[in-house]
Symmetry: C2
Subunit: 461 residues, 2 copies
């Protein structure tokens, strides 16, 4: 993969996922194949959220300016990148409306109406919506966009700080399971104060790494404390009849997860989708040869695999087999089944996993058992390799020198002070992602030598 950006946009185009030619910068069209992939990925996320008691809601897109401006830090964090609706129905609006960049200020005024007593808590809701950010940086499909078309945002309200803290941990667990199911490797860090969500007490972020060695933020979990509940008056009556201010959290995932899926499991040719979410899991390519018609067997195989709930496409088109292989590889179908004269004669199929390109013989009698197994093994292989690749980049560094390689992700000790982080940034071009959430070890700050904790530095998008 020489030029990542070029490769990525090529893949999107050739795989038929997204059309990047929409005439507004940073906004894209989801094509049917992309929508199917997106639907399956969201399906996993929804299941994980519902299993943990989150309920789906849907709030309006437009937020009145006065609500949006209520929490001072929040508006300061977002005002430079929001879109404003100023006209409607042929005249100027009395109150300008902001296209939600995120929904705290749309939801929380309603939460204050919904929550009366401790019996209403915890409140755990989520929605999947478009949010808008007028990005000034270079846009990139699925990665830096102006309409985030696939924003899953969850918002919770709790009686105590401990409950909110527990919810943050639950959210981190949900996201770990989510990315694990997709085989996307991640680093979990607590963002430094200057990179904390506008209005949060603290933010925990998931980052993955691109093939060019830059980290990409793919999920965030924020403990909002009482900052918003104070402003929006979200209070409840406790068991003793006292009015108390609630505690809140929120956490989000965007279509960057789709970008990560593509580049994490991709190669020169294009993506290889994990079988769990691949719109087509198996493509069957019949190989006609004089005197042999492979189509009846191909149809039988399709039917039998569909009966065990696999998503199968039989490519009976006019192209030559080689062209078909190429086409479906570029579309990321994880397993190809070839059926030619040999296969018909010997009552078998040849299965070719997209990643290894091994040619595996599967007797017809074993079809229903073996093909799902091959898909499972492939998914596991994708996940393991992705984690290996991430780990290979990690350097446990105790000197600047060790961090100088191409695409290095540095694990260092850091005292937590901004000036030390800035020195790393200036001298190495590596940003401070934050302290590692799951590593309690301590050591001397790489920069100043004061006591510090495990932190991660990397090139970022």
């Amino acid at each position: 993969m020489k030029d990542f950006t070029e490769w990525f946009e090529n893949v999107l185009d050739q795989a038929g996922l997204v059309d990047t030619r929409y005439p507004v910068k940073g906004m894209y069209v989801w094509l049917p194949y992309g929508m199917q992939l997106r639907g399956r990925v969201l399906g996993i996320l929804r299941r994980l959220l519902e299993e943990t008691g989150h309920q789906e809601v849907l709030f309006p897109l437009l937020i009145p300016e006065d609500q949006f401006a209520k929490e001072a830090e929040h508006i300061r964090g977002f005002e430079d990148q929001v879109y404003w609706v100023t006209r409607g129905g042929g005249s100027d609006l009395d109150v300008r409306l902001v296209l939600r960049p995120t929904s705290e200020t749309a939801m929380y005024p309603m939460f204050s109406l919904w929550i009366r007593s401790h019996a209403d808590l915890p409140l755990k809701v989520y929605q999947v919506v478009s949010v808008f950010r007028c990005e000034t940086k270079m846009t990139k499909p699925l990665i830096r966009v102006r309409e985030v078309t696939t924003f899953k945002e969850a918002h919770t309200v709790h009686a105590t700080a401990e409950d909110a803290e527990r919810q943050v941990r639950e959210a981190v667990e949900i996201y770990k399971r989510f990315f694990d199911e997709l085989g996307i490797p991640y680093l979990i860090t607590r963002r430094p104060p200057w990179d904390t969500f506008a209005g949060a007490e603290y933010s925990i972020a998931f980052d993955t790494v691109s093939p060019e060695g830059k980290t990409l933020q793919i999920g965030t979990v924020h403990n909002l404390g009482q900052k918003f509940s104070q402003v929006f008056r979200i209070r409840y009556l406790d068991r003793d009849g006292n009015h108390r201010l609630a505690y809140q959290t929120c956490y989000g995932i965007s279509e960057r997860v789709i970008a990560s899926l593509i580049f994490t499991h991709g190669d020169e040719l294009g993506p290889c989708f994990p079988p769990k979410v691949a719109p087509i899991q198996v493509v069957i390519v019949p190989i006609p040869f004089e005197g042999f018609d492979p189509l009846p067997l191909a149809r039988e195989v399709k039917e039998r695999l569909e009966r065990v709930q696999l998503r199968v496409q039989l490519d009976g088109g006019e192209e030559r087999p080689g062209e078909k292989y190429y086409k479906w590889e570029r579309r990321g179908v994880p397993l190809r089944i070839e059926i030619g004269p040999e296969e018909v004669r010997q009552r078998k199929v040849t299965a070719v996993p997209r990643d290894t390109r091994e040619r595996l013989e599967v007797p017809l009698a074993d079809l229903e058992a073996r093909i799902p197994e091959l898909l499972g093994e492939l998914g596991e292989r994708l996940r393991r390799r992705a984690w290996e690749r991430l780990k290979e980049r990690i350097v446990e560094a105790s000197s600047f020198e060790e961090l100088k390689g191409e695409g290095v992700i540095g694990r260092i000790f850091w005292c937590g002070r901004e000036e030390c982080a800035r020195q790393v940034e200036e001298q190495l071009g590596l940003s401070m992602l934050g302290m590692e959430v799951e590593d309690p070890s301590v050591g001397k700050c790489l920069v100043c030598g004061r006591e510090g904790k495990r932190a991660v530095v990397a090139r970022t998008y």
Copy 2:
């Protein structure tokens, strides 16, 4: 139902479907229960569309002004009711962006890139999105809103006028099946020219009727001819190598279908959801009595019904049974099962359909067979009654006098001229819905006596 508007907003509130207190006029919050209902309704629609070869896509929300303005009739039809984004990222935008009121002008420039030859046709796509209309009329939740949160719009492209015509018929069939599954009765008319979709050759509309006797447009199908394909240059190479202009159709359904579900099958107390889409199909209310604990049996019944794929809620709360009955009736649960001492003793349950309120005894042994049957019968009953109620309102009129009753829907003969329609409007307050699509009979125009066709007039929203 004395005051329909009051009843309707009450029901929405008490059933926990939508919260109407969002601080922007005409914009509402979907609550979890409403989202579940909406999801099931959309599920039916998606299935019908996928079965007929429509593929889901997702286009950006924002349309640049120059694209939006390309089709002259279209912009004239919409410019008075659109919202404009004029600022973003802290400064005025070079090109103003419109919040889509519908997506023709977002989609069709892309269609012209996608379509090259006859092999690319027909193109049949749909999306489910929010669209925005800055309504100046009085807003009403789910009925007249400024953010239509549930807009299913399908768009198709065809090689010939005949194909487009055939597609219009297919769309009408899809919508008929859709409303039939929901038990919502409808009238199908071809809208008069002055009520045709801005940019269409002609429009066919589905209307249903509210309890106060006004018709509500709940679905539309438009034959766009070549009006848009000309402007957006949607051309294809035919089999003989000639460039040809394509033909187009589009058709849409909005959350008014949810409003119709509620008022069509509602009574004084609230809604009664058809079992096919009810978020909870069966609620079990245990009735404790000294010496008898109905909970074990209630749990057994729940488990057994869930095993046959029913959506069941066991209400084990503290309220008295009567309060529970009332609560679940107002939430539109179609079937209640009561389990008290008698039921435990006799190994049976008492089933109470929401509509008839009959008390039916079902032996435990028949549970898995009888309960789904009761739900099926209930759904059928809802549908039949709804159609009866619509038909009772219809008056086949050959004089103005006959059309003077409260909530009358008139079937008249009409010559097609605007001045005759205007006379009906002025003298009777009844709007011309249009010519009936499925009735070929002819007769003398009610107003002028010229030859006319079957047309429908009614009070409308």
